[in-house]
């Protein structure tokens, strides 16, 4: 992991956070002008998470955004006009009006997978992309985000557990903004640190201040490189706060005032600006230049978006199936010899050996250490191995261990 960033990196992070906020500010204006179709979600105050984490990815890596990750899309290279047009349901938008909000993707070039509304579904999907990438020899990492609330979905568990058993090169950012719609995280998830969800899968986790963009970046960078190196999936909990309501319609009156006030005092952009100025990486002039650059860009992008037509009605009936020869352009991009995964080289003995899993290693050899765990003892025995039964008490665990052993058989008999 790099311990220092280049000047350019510091400034990139700043630019993208500002861009993220400006794009969303523009959309609020468009919303008030009734130009947005459907709901509008906000990542105000959480920009450091989207920007810092996505900035840790390489071009070949894949990501899938959730509703509050427009910043990640911008970092990955999505032009603001696409974001605007999606929200305005225009014909030139990535989905041509078929879907809205940040529900769009780009498999071929930017390697973005579109989310669906159902929370958590992206987790196994991105685990699958990660597995496929490794299988093809691509050394890619995949990333997606999940909310504190979304971490209670069944598919979060299934996806992360499967990724862990497969050691998939996958990084999951758990954006703990303390609320899931109107419900505080404490009432949805009975643990202090949501990063502890990782313990159920034996994977590494981090907790990071989600309002500190450099911390988010450095942490994610480290996680991405560990995942890429074959350490398996990693969970990062970024702690922050949802400054606005669930969506534009929601005044969020259920949020205690003190809580909101506290977080408004920790705006990630303001804090970062102070840091950059202190470190002489930015001055008033530099700041103004960024603002102007963004304003010019967004004026143009917004204009383009506003001028884009709505889709023609009949377009609704097209595209249910992929038909015709060129509807499927995704060819597997092999970056390892195909011979490694085809017979005879792919042949293995189909047994669980005592030393380990199958033949111990993937058929791909060192290239793809695909499976979990060391290859030593597979004969598992309980902790009490070999001891006389009755001497083996239960070990109370968890946060409220009770001191009483349960070694009943050695206890006295009541007569």
């Amino acid at each position: 992991m790099k311990k220092e960033l280049t000047r350019q990196q510091y400034l990139d992070l700043y630019y993208y956070m500002r861009l993220n906020r400006a794009v969303e500010d523009t959309m609020v204006k468009l919303f008030r002008q009734n130009k947005i179709v459907g709901g509008l979600y906000s990542s105000l105050g959480q920009e450091a998470i989207s920007v810092g984490s996505a900035y840790a990815l390489e071009k070949k890596d894949w990501l899938a955004p959730m509703i509050r990750n427009i910043g990640a899309l911008l970092v990955k290279g999505v032009p603001p006009r696409d974001v605007f047009m999606q929200h305005m349901a225009k014909y030139d938008s990535p989905t041509k009006g078929k879907d809205g909000t940040s529900h769009f993707g780009d498999l071929e070039n930017l390697h973005i997978v579109s989310p669906i509304s159902m929370l958590g579904d992206l987790i196994p999907v991105m685990a699958g992309v990660a597995m496929a990438g490794r299988y093809l020899g691509q050394k890619i990492v995949t990333m997606t985000w999940i909310g504190d609330g979304g971490s209670s979905t069944g598919v979060f568990h299934e996806g992360l557990n499967f990724a862990a058993t497969q050691k998939a090169p996958f990084v999951l950012i758990l954006e703990n903004n303390l609320w899931a719609y109107s419900t505080p995280v404490k009432r949805q998830v009975p643990i202090e640190n949501l990063a502890d969800r990782a313990k159920a899968y034996g994977i590494s986790s981090y907790i990071v201040d989600g309002n500190d963009v450099v911390a988010v970046y450095c942490t994610t960078k480290e996680a991405v490189e560990r995942a890429r190196a074959g350490e398996g999936p990693i969970l990062i909990e970024a702690k922050s706060f949802r400054r606005l309501g669930h969506a534009q319609h929601d005044p969020a009156e259920y949020v205690p005032k003190e809580m909101r006030a506290y977080w408004e005092g920790r705006d990630p952009i303001e804090l970062y600006e102070k840091f950059l100025m202190g470190e002489k990486l930015l001055d008033a002039k530099g700041k103004k230049a960024v603002e102007e650059k963004i304003n010019t860009l967004l004026d143009r992008e917004r204009e383009f978006a506003e001028n884009s037509p709505m889709p023609p009605p009949e377009f609704a009936s097209t595209g249910v199936y992929c038909t015709g020869d060129d509807c499927h352009k995704i060819q597997p991009r092999w970056e390892r010899p195909i011979a490694e995964v085809t017979p005879p080289k792919s042949s293995v003995k189909a047994v669980w050996t005592v030393e380990g899993f199958g033949s111990g290693k993937s058929s791909g050899g060192a290239n793809a250490p695909i499976h979990f765990g060391d290859t030593k003892n597979t004969i598992e025995i309980p902790a009490s191995n070999g001891k006389v039964p009755g001497k083996n008490g239960a070990k109370p665990r968890g946060k409220k261990p009770v001191k009483v052993g349960a070694a009943g058989t050695t206890g006295k008999v009541k007569r």
Binding site: V37, G38, A89, Y91, G154, Y181, S182, M310, A316
Partner: protein, 332 residues
């Protein structure tokens, strides 16, 4: 929206009808509880449970994690212990996240081991509000095709209130779909006192003799609109509101079609595998010789629900399409 008292009752919105039904049932029977995402402090994403937490407390109005299978599963367990839970799906689209619990656990329990599960699973459904592909679902046929469930999809405040009360009192698991387009757009009169509407009974909304239009939920209003236009051209359409989709009220359907000899089914659900097919089969089996013309369908397209307004509008049925189909059918 202020409530208007009338002679026999009150003019209320569809949404208010839902709220009143839950309120009154919880008032009547302490075994009735409500659970779901954001149903408590927030009063539900559409405010259908506003005020319930204030009145009935934290034990009876339960904000849950985002875990649809747990919501349905827990509701089922509660019903086993004698409670009558109402489980809310924030949008009905998310019901598929609990599909296994509903179709395998909840639906089969009475048949297999005599375990009644009196519980209601309800939530906002349907299109017309630019909710897009994941917030506009009409998933009724998944459940109409699952023996053991009852499926209700009302179109008026009166029915919504009366059927939801009946659902809470029913000893079977009931799916109750609330078309969100109707929530604040439709008003109607409800009696002042307690009443229920029987599950499994359709109703003739408009009498006519030239053809029968069968519909439910939002499409009911579309069908009535089309029927008015048809009347201006001398075509008198009889309009049936199914209200309950499972069990289906064959009798009302057959009675009408035997009179009009023509049948048009209008549903907002996608076409292939929609309920029009089931009605076609029933008519074929039981009223074959009564039909002077083909059963016709006006439905949504066989696609996901698109987001952009012009696309959604094209995707959805409307009064014009119903009118045109009915005119064609009347010519037989």
């Amino acid at each position: 929206m202020p409530d208007n008292k009338t002679e026999n009752g009150t003019q209320i919105t569809f949404l208010e009808a839902i709220k009143q039904a839950m309120f009154e049932e919880m008032e009547r029977d302490p075994a009735v509880v409500l659970l779901g995402e954001d149903v408590g402090v927030y009063g539900g994403a559409f405010k259908t449970s506003e005020g319930l937490l204030e009145r009935f407390g934290w034990e009876r109005v339960i904000d849950t994690p985002i875990s649809e299978s747990a919501i349905i599963g827990a509701a089922c367990g509660m019903s086993y212990a004698g409670l009558r839970p109402i489980a809310e799906l924030q949008f009905i689209d998310f019901i598929v996240c609990a599909f296994n619990q509903i179709t395998n656990f909840v639906a089969k329990g009475h048949y297999l081991w005599n375990a009644p599960a009196p519980m209601v699973m309800r939530g906002p459904s349907g299109g017309f509000v630019h909710g897009g592909p994941f917030h506009s679902a009409n998933p009724e046929m998944y459940f109409v095709h699952t023996p053991g469930l009852k499926v209700i999809y009302p179109s008026t405040p009166y029915d919504a209130k009366g059927l939801l009360k009946a659902a809470v009192r029913d000893n079977n698991p009931v799916l109750f779909f609330e078309h969100k387009f109707l929530y604040r757009r439709i008003k109607g009169e409800v009696p002042t006192g307690d009443y229920t509407v029987p599950i499994g009974k359709a109703i003739v909304r408009r009498e006519g003799k030239h053809l029968t239009i069968i519909s439910y939920a939002a499409m009911m209003h579309t069908s009535l609109e089309a029927a008015d236009a048809l009347a201006k051209e001398g075509i008198e359409a009889e309009v049936i509101d199914l209200r309950t989709l499972l069990p289906l009220d064959e009798e009302t359907i057959l009675q009408s079609v035997r009179k009009t000899n023509r049948c048009l089914v209008v549903h907002e659900d996608t076409k292939t595998g929609g309920i029009a097919g089931e009605i076609a089969a029933i008519l074929s089996e039981k009223a074959f010789s009564d039909l002077d013309g083909p059963l016709m369908r006006v439905t949504a397209l066989d696609t996901p629900v698109p987001y952009s307004p012009p696309l959604e509008e094209y995707f959805l049925p409307n009064a014009k399409k119903v009118f045109d189909a009915a005119k064609e059918l009347a010519r037989y």
